[in-house]
Point group: C2
Chain length 417, copies 2
Amino acid sequence: MHKNIIEIAKNSKLASLKTANLTSTQKNFALKLIAENLDKNRGIIKEENQKDISKAKKDGISDSIIDRLTLSDKVITSMIKGVNDVINLPDPIGEVTKMWRRPNGLVVGRKRIPIGVICMIFESRPNVVVDAGILCLKSGNTALLRGGKEAFNSNNILAKIMQEALDKAGVVKEAIQVFPTTEREAIHQILKLDQYIDLVIPRGKEGLIKTVVQNSTIPVIKHYKGVCHIFVDKKYGDYKQASDIILNSKAQRPGVCNALETLLIHEAIAQKFLPKIVEDFKKADVEVRGCDKCVNILNNIKSATEDDWATEYLDKIISIKIVKDIDEAISHIQRYGSDHTESIITSDYNNSMKFIDEVNSSAVFVNASTRFNDGGELGLGAEIGISTTKLHAFGPMGLEELTTTKFIIFGNGQIRN
Amino acid sequence: MHKNIIEIAKNSKLASLKTANLTSTQKNFALKLIAENLDKNRGIIKEENQKDISKAKKDGISDSIIDRLTLSDKVITSMIKGVNDVINLPDPIGEVTKMWRRPNGLVVGRKRIPIGVICMIFESRPNVVVDAGILCLKSGNTALLRGGKEAFNSNNILAKIMQEALDKAGVVKEAIQVFPTTEREAIHQILKLDQYIDLVIPRGKEGLIKTVVQNSTIPVIKHYKGVCHIFVDKKYGDYKQASDIILNSKAQRPGVCNALETLLIHEAIAQKFLPKIVEDFKKADVEVRGCDKCVNILNNIKSATEDDWATEYLDKIISIKIVKDIDEAISHIQRYGSDHTESIITSDYNNSMKFIDEVNSSAVFVNASTRFNDGGELGLGAEIGISTTKLHAFGPMGLEELTTTKFIIFGNGQIRN
C-alpha cells in the first residue's frame, strides 16, 4: 500500500479529534481566512487550473468536462460566496436534540457530534474541494478529498490555499487534505482504511459509485442517480400550472439529478393532456418517448423501450407512460425509480395523501417542481449532495447530516440492578 | 448463487413495500397473534430446540453456548413478554419530525419511514429471531434472519410460528424470514444483494463482523465490541459511591458489551484509592492487571501488557492504569477505546463537562454505571443491539433507529427559477 495514503488518513483521524472540539468562533474565523485567501490567490488558482485545462485539451477531453473543470473569476467568486454562506449557517455541533429523565433519576440526552473523517471521492469539478472542505470543517469533521486526475493541479492549489488559512487561524491544517495521487489503484487502498476513515461519499458516474460500493470496508453514502417521476392525476387542476411544473422539472436544467425523466399520465385524461404536453415539449426542444398507449394517441412520437423506464437521461429527453390509476403510477415508480425525487400533480386530497404516504423516495412533492430537491431550496443551507442511501441521511445532506449523536447521561451514583 | 437466497431476498423486498404501509393497529394485531402462537406452540419449540441441543452436545459444543441455545419455558415466556412490550411501544412510522415553510410557500417536512429490508446475521441465541422479527415488523421493515448453524431447527420453528401468525393477521408472511441454509458461503451471497437488502446488522464475534464488513456491498451497522472505561478523577466524591459504580460496571454481568474493561485512576489519588478498589475487586473475584505505576504501589498484582488496554475481556478481569490527569485519561480512551461506553466519576464540574464534551463514544456517563448503555435502560424501549458505527445510529438501536426520514413537500404550483 502507498505509504503516503495511510499517513494522510492517519493524520486526518488525529486532526479530527481536534476539529471535533473547535468552537463556532474558531471555525468561522478559519472560514473567513479561507475566503480571504481564495480571493488573494485568484491569479495562482487560475494559473494552476490552466495547466489542467491545457492537458485536458491536449488529451481531447470533451468541452462539457472542460467547462466543469474551469475556474474562472466568476467560479472563484461563487466559491468565496459559498464560504461566506457557510459562516452564516448555524453550527450543528453540541446541540442537545432531546433530553429526558429516567425513573432512577438518570438524565439522558442526545448530543450532536461530528462523524469524524469524511472522504469524498468525486470527478471533474475542482470547486468540490472547497465546498466539501468547508462543510466538513463547519461540522467539526475533517475532509479527505480525492478528485479526478484531470483536476489534479486545481484541486491541490485549492487545498493548499485552504491549509494556509487554517494554519493562520490556529486550526490543524490536516483538517482539509487532498490525496496527492491520482492512480486508480489508490482508490482501492483508501477504501480499506476503515480504522481511520468514518465515511466515504462518492459523487460521480455510475462506474465510480459501483467501484466504491463494491470495494469499501468504510460506510458509504451513495449520491446516485435520479430517475425522477411526475404523475399527472385524473383531476390535475389547471393545465397551465401542471405544464409549468412539468417543463420546469424537465427542462430548466436537464443535466442534474433532480430533473424529471419519466412522466406518468392518468389514462382518463391522456387523450386530451398528452397532445398538449407533447406540443409544449416540442417547443422546449425536448424529445418524447412514449408507451404503446401514447403512440396510439399520437403516432408521431418515438416508442419507449423497456430500458427507457430505468434511464436517467440527464438530457432533453423524456419518457411518457399512460397509467390506469395512482396505484399503477406508484407501482411503476417502485419498480423503475431510484428513490430520488417524485411529484404528483393533483387537486384530489386523497390521492395527494396517498402519494405522500406510499412513495418512499428521498423527496416526495405535491404540486411542485422536482427541481426543489436540493439542500438550499428545502432550507438546509448549503449541501454536500443528495443521498440516495436510506441509511443516516436520505435526500439532501446539509451540515446536520454530516453529524451523528452520542448519548450523554448525568447520574448521581446510579448502578444497575 | 443459491437461487433460493435470491428469491427470499426478493420476496422480502416486495413484502417491504406492503409492511411500510401497515397501520399500527394491523401491526399490533399481528404481534398479538405472534405472542399467542408462541405460547400455544411451546411444546414443538422445545422439541425442535432439543434437536439442536442434542447435536450440539454430540459435537462437543461448550456448555455456555448450549446455555445460550436453550429455549426453556422461562426463555419462551420472556420472548412472549418481549412481544407484548413491543406492542406497547409507540409506532415510529409516519411521524413528521419537523415541518417548516419556505419563502416561496413550499411547506417542507421530514417524515419517518421504514428503512426497508433489514438482514440480521447473528450467532447462537435463537431468541434473536423473535426479537429482531418483531422490532422490524413494528417499525414497518421486513426481517431477513441468518442465525448460526447450531440453532438451525430452533430458528426455523420460531420463524414458522411467527409466519403463521402473520398470515392469520392478514400481514404478508414474508415480512419475517429465516434463510434456509447454514452454509458459510451463503453469507457471502447474501452480502452482495444490495438491490434487495437495505441494511445488514451483524451481531456476534469479531470474525463474523469482519467477514460482513469486508464483503458487504450493503450498508452495515456494526454491533462491535465494548472496551469500556471509567475514569476516577482527583476529586471523585464519596468512595462508597465510586466503588459501587465501578463494581457494578465490571462485575454485575461481565460477559456483556457495556461491562467495564479498563479503570483509569488520577495519579493524585492512586496511592489511597488503588489499594481499596483492588481489595474490593478481590472480594468480587475480579482479577486485576495493572500498569507499572500500579505495580509500584501494589506489588501483588499482575502487570498489564500493551494488549490488555485494547482487550474486551468479557470476564472477571480488569486492567487498571494510573493517569496524570483528565487529558491523559481522554487520550487513552481515544487510543484504545472502541467508541462504546465511558464514564467519569467526579465531583468537579469542569471535568464532568470536559469529559461529556471531548469523549465521543456512543454513551458518555457522569457518575453512573456503564451498564446503563442499553436501549431499555436509557428509555428507548426494546433494542436490537448497540451500534458502534457512527453512521445512522450510534449507541442503542430502538424502533426509531430502524427508520429513516424522507422529505415531504406540499406546494401549489411552485417552479424553480
